[in-house]
């Protein structure tokens, strides 16, 4: 994956990558946790390597997926969904989209969406209240997250919608964040029509709540941009005037001009002090209320004091004025804040996270029949229907027979489990078995997953888990500066009020902690940007700081130390020739297509990677036997089965080839067989294998003095095997831990402990851990709650993170010492009265510039890391 040098773009990519995995529930193409390769994308990559997708004769005209059979080649589409999307786009008169896409050389294929949802739940009052913003009587706005938006052709297609869809006034696409905003007239178009159209075009719409933090952030960002703009304007102009004044100090200046310049500078400083500097006042007052000194306190005092004393001196016609220093201080510090802000991600609300993982719609059964409704319209006691492959929309009691549920999202268990009638199923879990009905017991925020997410929200709201190092230093610094000021005032009060105050303000201005205010944010934001290029996203400067102090790392097993899904680790094909491999690939593709089972996905991945020959038999009918396998009748009259050994054996197939699988592959593996009539044709060993780099990464960590451990929801046997294979001792392994237990263990472990995880089941623990490290391919919630997010599922990044964090920490400490020397010597000069306005104006930027240059020169995280 290409990671943009711009860190915000990199962030957006991460969001998209993780959301693709997190949103699988909605497009129905794939339900297994942690996957990031729906079958359509994989096949597309193959095509994309050669040329633009739709240009190839054997690629689907809409999605560019490779076509296999003669029937598909005849019509030019891989499925009915693509055919429908193609005729919809052409029907709307937007066929030019395909030209644009192909001429852009767009390699990515279109992700397919679920055609089964009718989006009727988009029309409910509860849905409107949650997602739609009414702008005026005839215009409303709704925002969607559409992860399929990825190129200029998408922008063109979506922004053309107002011309072809009556009632839609305007569509704006935000490519970097994969968001679209739609302005529409609710009296002319139903939201369900809009939803269906977007989904039909291939952009599965995930609505964004109208009270989402994203919107309040936007407003805050605009205000902040205005504050910086005003500060820049004021400080630059004041500086210009002051160059004239300083010139006048040497060569003489007529009284009338000096006075005029002072008054104009005063006028220019007013907006900077009263508007731009507001953030500093707010944080220092906020901290004072909590009985703490914040670094903004001496800054605020210096700004206000420097301005007031200059104003008084201007009125009295004296030359001790500091407008240039005050305004430059405001501008430079705001710039530092802006750097800091860029890398930060705001706390997500529990309700937003819930929508990311739980389905938005539910099928409610009333006496009038089944009806698709918005989840918030469900009440306890309602009866719902959950089809195969769908996520359960609420906590519920099973009414119909047994169900096969994949709880991976909640508990982390990778294998689907059987739930019998009368037992509870949880919101967010996947129905891996046949359709069932259930009675709702708890909805949304009251469900088990809702409770977990609320715990995460409250944990991340009090984000300041640890006071950052600079905050701690600031406490002493502020106290010291304030004490010195009082002392100076008392010492010189004998000379009169005015000279004493002059010295105090000169002291406050020269000792202003620029290294803390500017250098630290710059080191942090450079570290953030470079880390992002290496594949590590840091949520905040304090996260980086805490990473430097990691002593122990716990790994969640599934998806972090292991790949998180079974893969074919060994195959034995009867016959062994290329032709038979091609035939078996074809049979697997046909028999396993669309089946929601980890093993089916592993086999599809295996088959998709190999060649497929022409003129293979067509699938006539297919039966899926839950817990056993799948059986199909083919056009050549042969009955083929893929499934568990036990089932294949019970169907009377001879299993004499079993010993052909080496022992190394049978232990801990699931063996799946493929039979033709009663002949065994192929054997596959499937296993969730440990990542290749895991053992090395753990050894690297140990060399840096960081111990590792496993904390997992899996059984002790599985955890033990994995732990042993990567060289961990039994005492470092914690197994069979529920999400709540994990969180408790990590809360107790304290600041120096990190957790590496990828699932929703880790999310609560990630938010409670000293450092939460989320890994790509996991759930979106992980991205939202973790302090650090790895863009590549590569454990080597963790050692890189710790190295970078440690070098950042060293750099920040060195700057503190350098600037402390500056400040102390300047303070001594100020107290003894040597420093006038000119000297103060020179020393302040000299101190800032030297630490800024040093930050740029020595930025942590190696540049070469980007090219690894």
């Amino acid at each position: 994956m290409a990671v943009d040098s711009d860190e915000s773009a990199a962030h957006a990519y991460a969001m998209r990558a993780s959301e693709q995995a997190g949103h699988q529930n909605r497009d129905g193409s794939d339900g297994f946790r942690g996957n990031h390769s729906p079958i359509s994308m994989r096949a597309g990559d193959e095509v994309g390597n050669t040329s633009a997708a739709a240009v190839l004769p054997n690629a689907c005209k809409h999605c560019g997926q490779r076509l296999y059979t003669s029937k598909e080649l005849d019509c030019g589409f891989c499925c009915n969904g693509c055919s429908a999307a193609y005729s919809l786009i052409n029907g709307l008169g937007l066929g030019y989209y395909y030209c644009l896409r192909d001429s852009a050389g767009e390699r990515q294929t279109i992700r397919k969406t679920a055609a089964d949802s009718q989006f009727n739940h988009f029309d409910g009052a509860e849905f409107r209240a949650r997602f739609v913003r009414e702008l005026s009587g005839s215009q409303s706005r709704i925002d969607f997250q559409c992860n399929a938006v990825h190129c200029s052709a998408c922008v063109w297609l979506l922004e053309k919608l107002p011309e072809v869809l009556p009632g839609v006034d305007q569509v704006r696409v935000d490519l970097a964040r994969a968001k679209i905003a739609v302005w529409f007239d609710p009296s002319k178009i139903d939201l369900s029509t809009l939803g269906r159209t977007l989904a039909g075009l291939g952009y599965d719409p995930h609505p964004i709540a109208s009270r989402s933090t994203a919107f309040s952030d936007q407003a805050a960002d605009v205000t902040f941009a205005l504050q910086i703009g005003v500060a820049a304007f004021c400080s630059m102009n004041v500086m210009l005037l002051f160059i004239g004044r300083y010139q006048g100090l040497f060569s003489g200046m007529e009284e009338q001009y000096a006075g005029f310049f002072s008054w104009v500078s005063l006028a220019l400083a007013v907006p900077a002090v009263t508007f731009s500097a507001l953030p500093f006042y707010r944080t220092s007052i906020g901290a004072l209320r909590l009985k703490r000194f914040h670094i903004d306190l001496p800054i605020s005092i210096a700004i206000v004091g420097g301005f007031l004393s200059s104003a008084v001196n201007t009125a009295l016609g004296r030359s001790e004025i500091y407008y240039d220093t005050v305004t430059a201080l405001i501008f430079l510090l705001l710039l530092g804040r802006w750097f800091q802000r860029r890398g930060m991600k705001k706390v997500a609300l529990a309700s937003e996270m819930l929508y990311a993982i739980a389905p938005l719609s539910a099928i409610k059964i009333t006496h009038e029949g089944a009806q698709e409704v918005f989840v918030e319209a469900l009440r306890s006691g309602d009866t719902i229907k959950v089809p195969n492959g769908a996520r359960i929309p609420a906590d519920a009691i099973l009414l119909s027979g047994d169900a096969i549920i994949n709880n991976a999202l909640i508990s982390g268990e990778s294998a689907p489990c059987k739930v019998s009638r009368g037992n509870e199923v949880y919101c967010g879990a996947l129905n891996a078995g046949p359709e069932f009905t259930a009675q709702v017991t708890a909805v949304a925020a009251h469900s088990r997953i809702g409770n977990i997410l609320q715990g995460i929200e409250s944990a991340s709201v009090r984000d300041s888990k640890t006071a950052s190092f600079t905050d701690k230093v600031a406490q002493y610094f502020v106290a010291g500066v304030l004490a010195l000021s009082v002392l100076t005032f008392l010492l010189f009060i004998g000379e009169g009020m005015a000279p004493a105050l002059d010295r105090v303000f000169a002291l406050l201005i020269v000792s202003c902690p620029c290294a803390l205010g500017i250098a630290t944010p710059i080191v942090m934001s450079l570290a953030n940007a470079r880390a992002a290029r290496a594949g590590i996203l840091l949520k905040s400067g304090s996260a980086l700081e805490r990473c430097a102090n990691i002593e122990k790392i716990y790994f969640d097993k599934t998806g972090t130390l292991t790949h998180g899904k079974p893969a074919v680790v060994f195959s034995h094909l009867q016959g062994g020739s290329d032709a038979s491999r091609q035939k078996i690939n074809h049979i697997i593709q046909k028999l396993e297509s669309g089946i929601e089972h980890p093993a089916a996905e592993a086999l599809r991945n295996f088959a998709g990677s190999g060649p497929v020959g022409p003129d293979e038999p067509e699938l006539v009918s297919r039966t899926v036997i839950n817990g056993a396998g799948v059986m199909g009748e083919f056009s050549d009259g042969v009955r083929r089965r893929i499934g568990s050994l036990r089932w294949i054996k019970s169907e009377g197939v001879n299993l004499e080839h079993l010993q052909l699988i080496p022992d190394a592959h049978t232990s801990g593996s699931t063996i799946v067989a493929l039979s033709e009539d009663n002949q065994l044709k192929a054997l596959f060993a499937l296993r969730d294998s440990v990542r290749d780099e895991a053992a090395e990464a753990i050894a690297d960590l140990a060399r840096r003095g960081v111990t590792s451990g496993i904390i997992s929801g899996d059984s002790s046997g599985v955890v033990g095997t994995v732990g042993e294979s990567i060289g961990l001792s039994q005492s470092d392994l914690i197994s069979e831990a529920s999400p709540e237990q994990k969180a408790a263990i990590l809360t107790e472990a304290g600041e120096g402990t990190a957790l590496v995880g990828d699932g929703v089941n880790d999310a609560l623990a990630l938010s409670k851990a000293g450092i939460g490290i989320g890994i790509s391919g996991g759930a979106e919630v992980c991205l939202k709650v973790s302090d650090v997010f790895l863009l590549r599922p590569d454990l080597g990044l963790i050692t890189e993170l710790i190295d970078g964090a440690r070098s950042a920490q060293r750099l920040v400490r060195r700057h503190l010492i350098v600037s402390l020397v500056y400040n102390v010597s300047a303070a001594v000069l100020a107290i003894s009265g040597f420093i006038g306005p000119l000297a103060a104006a020179l020393i302040m930027p000299a101190s800032s510039i030297s630490v800024i240059l040093s930050s740029l020169w020595n930025a942590p995280f190696k540049k070469e890391a980007a090219w690894k």
Binding site: K61, C99, L100, L175, A176
Partner: protein, 51 residues
């Protein structure tokens, strides 16, 4: 040099106009999305397709 009493306010007023233009641009959301406008202009005039 008395002209400075007129020129200085004038130049500041001119600068103020640009500051107001920046205000308008920031308020109307022009700095929110810096990537999409670059690709929005890419498609040429629409032409007939034979796809």
């Amino acid at each position: 040099m008395e002209v400075i009493f007129i020129l200085l306010p004038l130049s500041l007023a001119l600068g103020g106009v640009f500051l107001l233009a920046y205000f308008w641009a920031a308020r109307s959301g022009q700095f929110e999305d810096l990537e999409t406008p670059a690709v929005r202009i890419l498609p040429d005039e629409e032409r007939e397709t034979d796809l």
